[in-house]
Symmetry: C2
Subunit: 333 residues, 2 copies
Amino acid sequence: MSRSNVTLSDIAERAGVSPATVSRVLNGDSRVNPARVARINKVIEELGYAPNRAARTLATGRTGLVAAVIDSNLNVFSDPFWGVITTGVSRALQDSNMQALLMVRPLNEVDPQVITMLTPGHVDGAIFFQLHNDDVVRRLQALGLPCVIVGRPDDAAAFPYVDSDNFGGAEIATTHLIQRGCRTIATIAGNVSLSAGRLRLDGYRSALSRAGIPVEDSLVHVGDWTDESGETAMAELLSRRPDIDGVFIANDSMAIGALAALDERGIDIPNQVAVIGFDNMFAGRLGRRQLTTVQQDVEALGATAASMVIEAIQGATPASVVLPTHLVVRETA
Amino acid sequence: MSRSNVTLSDIAERAGVSPATVSRVLNGDSRVNPARVARINKVIEELGYAPNRAARTLATGRTGLVAAVIDSNLNVFSDPFWGVITTGVSRALQDSNMQALLMVRPLNEVDPQVITMLTPGHVDGAIFFQLHNDDVVRRLQALGLPCVIVGRPDDAAAFPYVDSDNFGGAEIATTHLIQRGCRTIATIAGNVSLSAGRLRLDGYRSALSRAGIPVEDSLVHVGDWTDESGETAMAELLSRRPDIDGVFIANDSMAIGALAALDERGIDIPNQVAVIGFDNMFAGRLGRRQLTTVQQDVEALGATAASMVIEAIQGATPASVVLPTHLVVRETA
DNA sequence: CGCGTATCTGAAAGCGTTTTCACGACCCGC
DNA sequence: GCGGGTCGTGAAAACGCTTTCAGATACGCG
C-alpha cells in the first residue's frame, strides 16, 4: 500500500487554494480565475501530480476503461488480425485518455468473470469481436453497457457494429477476373454461417450477375477457411469443371491451398486460371508467387470500433460503419 | 453516473451484520462465524452483488490491473504472435482475478501517457514486449513498479524476463540437419542486434562445433527477417557455396523466401538441400510443401509472463524463465 | 470464582476525487 | 445607493470499500 503519491490536496495546500478549485482546474472548469489556473498548473507540474484514477472513478462513476472482449472459443491462431485490431482499439482509446482492458474468455455461456467485469461500473463500454451469437451482448446491452461489435452481427440492426466491406471486396475481385477475360469463374466460399462468408459469396454472385454471366452452382464450393479445405475444394471444382479459368477464394489461407492444387496439375497461373484471395494475409510473404487479394484496413477496424464505443459512452447512438476494402493486384490475377 | 448497483452496505443491512463483517467474508477472513458466512454469502448470491472495483482500489491501493505494454514502433504486422501472447497474458491474469490493460505506445521517448499510467497506483505491474531499449523499464522499475519482460532484454540480469529457448531451438534444428547427413550447412541469420537473432545464430554454431564440423563464415548470411531478404540471402549463399546441402534459417518468413530461391534453381528439397525454419508461423498454411521448423509455445510465453508479474506484485523476485522450443519435422528436412 | 486471553464483531476513520450548496464580492441598472 | 444578478470560491458530503481499534462475549486456568 505504498501511497507515495502526491494528492490533489497537496496541490491545493501548496497553491493556497481549496481542493475543489484544483479539481475544477483539472477538469477544465472555465470559471476559475486565470491567475489561479496558472499557479495551480505550475504546482501540478512541479510536483508531478497525476490524479488518482480509482478515486476519480469512485466519485464520477466512470472508469475510463473499455473492455475488448474476445471469445476464446475462436482460435486466435486462425486470426492473425486481431492483434492488429486490438492495437487500433488501444491507440484510439488512449487518444481519448481511456484504456483498453483485454478479456479473452469463453463467451458461449454465462461466464461469471465476464458478466461481473462487464456489469456497468467496472468498465464504461465494451467492444466484442466476431461473436458467435448475439445473446451475451444483448443481455449486457440491456444492462445499460454501451457495446460495439467488430464484424457484422447476426442481427445487424440490433447493435452498432463496424465491419470491412466483404461484399464490395468480393464484388470487385470477381469483377477484376471478368475484366481480365475470365468467363468461367468459380469461387471457394468460407463458412456461410459467418456473415463474412455469406457476404463474400454474395459479392461474387453480384459481380457475375452484373456482368450478365450466369451464376452456376457447379462453380461454387464451400470451404472452412483452412488451406486444406482450399486444396480439396479446388480439386473438386476442377474435376467438376475443367473449363474454369478464374477463381475467387474467400480467404488467403484457402487460396494457398488452391494454388497448391493448381500447381499439382501443372496449371499455369494466372494465364490458365487466375486466382484472387481475400485478406491480404501474406503480404509479401509468399516468396515466389505473390497472391492477388482483397485488402482490408484492419487497424482502422479497431480504431473505428473505439471511436464508436466512445460515442456510445457519451450517450449518442453511433451508426454502424462498413469500411472499404480494396483489391491488391499482384501476380495471380 | 447510474449507480444502480448493490453495495456492500446493502448486503450488511439485509444480512443483519455490519459492513465490516461482510467485507471480511468477501476477503476470506477466517475468523467470521461460519453461520454468518453462510448467511452473508446467501444474501450476496440473492442480490447478485459484486464489489466495486474502484472503491476497493481506493481502500487497498491495488488496482488488479497489469499493463501489457507494446512498443508501437515495432511493426505489429511483422509479429503475428503477439496477439497470441497477449491472449496468454489475459487468461492467466484473469485466473488470478486480475485484468490486462493493453497499451500500444511509442516507447523510445518519455511518453507522458505511458509514464503516468504506469506510475504506481494506476496499475499493479507491467509486462513489456520486445523492447528496443531497457531504459524506460529501468526507470519504471526504479519507481517501484513490478515489471516483467517478454523476450530477452539487453541486460538479462537486470530484469525478470521470459523467453523461448532460441539457442536450444537453433541447436536442435541444426543437429537434425547433421543427423540427416548434411555436411555443408548454411544459415540465414536474423538481425543480430536482436537477442533472438543472436541466440539463433549461436545455437547453429554450437551444434556444428559439437559435431566437430567447422563453422565457416562463407556459410553464414545475415538477413532482416523478411521473405525478400531470405530469398536474396539464399541466392547469395548458393552462388558462394554451391555445395550447400542444408540450411537453418532464423525465421519462417525468410525460409519462405529461401524456398523460392531454391525452387527457382530447380533444387530438390529436401534431398539436395534440406531446409529448417524457426517459429512455426505457417502451421499448415503453406499448402503443398510443409516447412520443417522450430516451434515455440507462444501462449505459454504470455501466461508465464503473467505469473511472473503476479509473483513480483506479491513481493517476490521472480526468476527469469526460458521456455523450451521443439522441432516440428515436416517435409523440408 | 475471578482474571487473563482468545475469539468474534462493529464503529469509525480513512482512501482521493467530484460536486452540490452556500456565501461573499462585485457589478449593473434603476 | 440599493436589490438582483453573476462570478469565483470553499466547506463538506458523497462515492463503496478496507482496516484499525476497541468492545463484548466466551473460555480456560489457577
